[in-house]
Symmetry: C3
Subunit: 140 residues, 3 copies
């Protein structure tokens, strides 16, 4: 049923909007510091914003994968709350990185921690399903 | 049922083939301009093709996310047509960028517009499902 | 049913863990060769590890897309085995690239071959479903 994935879908959409926001920030930074494509190097202010966006984009597929695995195999509500927290952490990561590489560290560790939590929840849920189906063994 | 997602699956597969095509173009460009990995800088002709591919790859997860959200929560046929148009726009973006950064702008705006359309359709569909399920309120 | 996608989910999770491992290797390499973010250039040893990770991350969404398409529209077990082989090939790709660009070539061709196989299986499965549903024609 659709309502079994509607919260995951909503978090995914918020995530897409956040990535779009990051991409627009890079465009603004390109204009501000006159760094025309295809160039990707320039003043440190630009390079930090650029790297922040790249990093968030790189991790987005990993995030979506574990958000949906945890939401489908473990619990939709729990996964969705973790997902929202991850997106908040990424927002502060981006803002922090724009200021200095050091400022990104706190939110970076937070977002990594949430990813590991989603990985753990996914692992429990998938293991439970595999044991139940192939060995008829109930984990929980 | 599988036929509820078969068109989305077909568009996704066409998208994967397009990304593979872009990746092969970069390999050809590396050979033509003698830019051996791990180097990513070289003559502007190479750097434009390289950046075009990176940009298409970066946006591919966002595109897939909203294609499937719009297709599942709004309407499969509408989302699939938007998806095909996006892939066509990306083809012209890649070809344009290979010629000059300016030539990429038209298809870039078109592909961004289609992404925003898919985001809008997803938002309507997901909101409709959430309101229906949690508040028993019919949006449409 | 969940067990129809549990193997795909398990392979996806292994893939996420592999990407996390690659990311940690880059962090270790940044420390070893003193390449602080947002810098992405440095000694060739660092640049090879960095490029290896980027390449694996770039292809991860394409891999997930065809893993799931092949698993849902063709056959879950076959797709999952291909998926595991792909992840093994990517591990040797990463290790090889860390040593020299040449050492990455064998696993690179292997992983590309597996991707094409998954693309082929997806195409057969999706075509079968589309013909069956829209033309009432049985391909297999």
């Amino acid at each position: 049923m659709l309502h079994d994935i509607a919260l995951l879908a909503a978090v995914t959409l918020v995530g897409v909007l956040e990535q779009a926001f990051f991409a627009l920030q890079v465009i603004a930074s390109r204009r501000k510091y006159s760094v025309s494509p295809p160039k990707t190097t320039g003043p440190p202010e630009f390079e930090r914003v650029f790297r922040a966006q790249i990093n968030c984009f790189e991790y987005f597929p990993l995030f979506l994968a574990v958000l949906w695995l945890a939401g489908i195999f473990f619990h939709q509500g729990t996964a969705s709350i973790c997902g929202l927290l991850y997106l908040v952490a990424r927002y502060y990561y981006f803002q922090g990185y724009s200021v200095s590489p050091k400022e990104r560290l706190g939110p970076m560790y937070l977002s990594a921690g949430i990813l590991w939590l989603l990985i753990g929840l996914s692992a429990i849920g998938i293991l439970h399903e595999l044991l139940l189906h192939y060995l008829d063994f109930k984990l929980m």
